[in-house]
């Protein structure tokens, strides 16, 4: 009798848990398009966005394949194909299967037949890179230089192109497209309305697909809310097949089970326990999508649009913070790398690490400047402090390009002064964006020194 009761209770708990968690997945959502008579039952679709996530990661891989000039033309052509297309027949270079982590798709065409990065790349001015170019032209310049470099590393000028290309793209495509297009213009009343298909012949409405595309750029799996930040982090690192393979079919479907760049960084910062970026963004995407599905193919009311804009605001605010956390973290890394080089001397390994971290710092700085908002003075100050390039071994740093497109390094700065710039960046980012995870927090080291100095006896009087 008791065992029956226990079984019934366990069953009830399982059923309610399933019912509870089902609400926490992004999709499937029903087809609500009025007049649709096809056999599709799920209106969710964001294959093109996942394809772009793989293009960004594949470009990062290719950026490290140059041999110092000999294969530059081939590498550049290959990179440009991943950047501009056609991409349909291209292999996914990253992420790929490995022992214990089998990935379902191997070509970009399995995700999307026509997507490319160039068409969606940020086309505003990008003053963080020498030459006064638009974002898309900066990327083409980086691709060209990466192809000529030795494994993506330009020791002379202090560039790590794999890092620069990958991090900048994460902002100039994923972040920019999500917050400045799909969750912005496309969430206004007259653009891509909900009472019409997204495109002629499609089974999803304008608003449904726009929101889904915005979600695809975030790069989170549909079951992200069921994951701990550590599990999400490990999925991106291809270390946790069990957490990734939600449907248990033995393969990781990149379309719905993988963690890509933006979501990976959200999870990475959430691991600190101080933030909840991944879940906050994910919840907002799910809640927004539910409002759209709930409209049952009718035009969205002003109230519904306002609610959706609220969720879009949550996504943008948290995503911006994730990018700011990254700038904060890598400014701290650069500070520490310089301290280590000053302490133990500059060698190839320590300098390479420093340049890698600088690439991440500069890449994320460009990423956060590619969003919807004009960051104004904060962006100007950030660019000034980071510079066009890091302080190199002879203390010179890139100040611009000459008429032939060669980098000019006609000014010098001490390691210490550049370290101070990194502290100023951390303060600027902290003041401007209110970061909470605060990895590599050198300002906190300063405050901790102060707090540890017998503060508890300060109030003693006589």
């Amino acid at each position: 009798m008791i065992s029956h009761r226990l079984t019934a209770s366990a069953l009830a708990i399982c059923v309610s848990a399933t019912a509870l968690t089902a609400h926490h997945f992004y999709g499937p959502y029903p087809v609500t398009l009025k007049g649709y008579s096809g056999d599709k039952t799920n209106s969710v679709s964001y294959g093109g966005q996942i394809a772009r996530q793989t293009m960004e990661q594949s470009l990062k891989k290719l950026a490290s394949t140059g041999n110092g000039g000999g294969n530059a033309a081939d590498v550049e052509a290959q990179m440009m194909q991943y950047f501009s297309g056609p991409t349909k027949d291209l292999a996914i270079l990253s992420p790929t299967s490995k022992d214990g982590f089998k990935i379902k798709q191997t070509t970009i065409g399995e995700l999307s037949s026509s997507a490319n990065l160039e068409g969606k790349f940020y086309k505003g001015l990008m003053p963080a890179w020498p030459g006064n170019h638009t974002g898309v032209d900066v990327m083409k310049d980086m691709i060209s230089r990466a192809a000529k470099s030795n494994k993506g590393f330009d020791a002379e000028n202090g560039y790590d192109y794999a890092q620069l290309i990958s991090k900048f793209t994460m902002g100039a495509v994923q972040y920019s497209q999500a917050v400045d297009n799909y969750l912005d213009e496309k969430m206004t009343a007259d653009v891509k309305p909900n009472d019409a298909p997204y495109k002629e012949g499609k089974h999803y409405t304008g608003k449904e697909h726009s929101w889904d595309e915005g979600f695809g750029y975030f790069g989170a799996p549909a079951h992200a809310l069921a994951l701990t930040p550590a599990a999400a982090y490990d999925i991106a690192k291809r270390k946790d097949m069990a957490s990734a393979d939600r449907n248990g079919d033995g393969v990781v479907d990149l379309k719905s089970e993988m963690v890509f760049g933006p979501a990976y960084y959200a999870a990475a910062f959430d691991k600190s326990g101080n933030t909840n970026y991944l879940a906050s963004i994910m919840q907002a995407y799910i809640d927004g999508r539910k409002v759209i599905s709930g409209a049952q193919g009718e035009k969205l009311s002003a109230t519904e649009l306002a609610v959706i804009k609220g969720h879009a605001g949550t996504i943008e605010e948290n995503w911006e913070k994730v990018l700011a956390e990254a700038v904060f973290k890598y400014a701290g890394s650069v500070y520490k790398d310089i301290a280590a080089m000053k302490e133990s001397g500059v060698d190839d390994k320590s300098y390479r690490k420093y340049v890698k971290h600088w690439g991440e710092l500069a890449g994320f700085s460009m990423a956060i400047q590619s969003g919807r908002k004009n960051l104004g003075a904060a962006a100007v100050e950030m660019n000034k402090l980071i510079g066009f390039g890091p302080v190199t071994t002879d203390n010179s740093y890139v100040t611009g390009v000459d008429g032939n497109g060669n980098f000019v390094r006609d000014r010098k700065m001490t390691w210490s002064d550049y370290q101070l710039n990194m502290l100023k960046i951390q303060k600027l980012v902290s003041d401007s964006f209110g970061v909470k995870s605060r990895a590599n927090d050198m300002l906190d080291e300063l405050a901790k020194m102060s707090a540890s100095a017998d503060a508890d006896t300060n109030a003693e009087t006589d």
Binding site: A339, K342, T414, S416, D417, Q419, L420, L423, K424, K427, M442, L443, E445, L446, A447, K448, M449, S450, A451, A453, D454, A455, D456, T457, N458, A459, E460, T461, D462
Partner: protein, 340 residues
Amino acid sequence: MEDLIRILATFGSYIETYLTSLSADFLNHKKRIFVGYLAISVVMAVVFLCAWRGLGLHGAVGKVFDKDIFWSKSAKADYFIYAINRIISILISPYLIAQGAVTTFLFFQLSKQNVVGFLFLDHWPSVLIITIYTLTYFIMDDLSKYFVHRCMHRWQFLWAFHKVHHSAETMTPITVYRVHPIESIIYGLRGSIVIGAVIGIFAYCFGIDNFSLATLLGVNLFSFIFNIAGANLRHSHIEIAYWPWLEKIFISPAQHQLHHSIENKHFNKNYGAMLAIWDWLFGSLHFSETGGSIRFGLRPHEASATNIISIYLKPFIEISNILKYVYTTLLKLLKLDFPR
């Protein structure tokens, strides 16, 4: 019901925090009233009374633990104030300025000047950096304590609060905690500003994680020396005096006891915490006077030694009276200065 449980749990955690804080200072070797330092002070007092005052061991111990002092009405008020101040401290401490904020602010202010660069001294040997830092910290801490203490006596606004400490008619080591909460806040601010500034400057010159205080058993070296040298006897009836030349350098317990004297001639003397040098330099030094003639406290019209309500509220009444006086005087002056 759940709400009630939550309220009780919250209340319980506050009580636990409070009870822990009551005993915390006795168990924290960074605090003056740490049991170890109290024990050392007892030994010093007994040795002093036996060797210099000629008392027997029994007599010396009896004098050290004189129940007329430890259970006097004034001392009981000290214990009560200690207990009340702990509650106030728990309530207001989250709102006080963080020392780290001062450090960070000053650090970035320094970075705006172009005279000396960031980390321009980081190549100095660490022993030298630690020595300079420890000395600077000690000197600035002690000097700022001297000046704040001096202001406490000389400015009516501050004296209204500082009188609480001076109203003690008997002194025990717990008398160090007989202070008005406003005075504690002022001293806390002093520490935040001065120590925060020293650390900000050192971090700029030597590097963020490139210096630390010289410590003994984890305690700031100078605080440790001060505490094992019988700092607790400053607030006691054991009149340990130093040689005059030494009393120009370090404040002896007897010199601080004189600072608490009720006599007019002893007013505004010996403000120093550890060093007497500041009193010597700025003309407030007074050598110790021993012989048991010093009476502690203030005259009855100044402050009550035992009335807790008066101790906490009278300073505010006095300040409002001062403000009223200033206001009415100002009005009178205006009328006089601008006759029709």
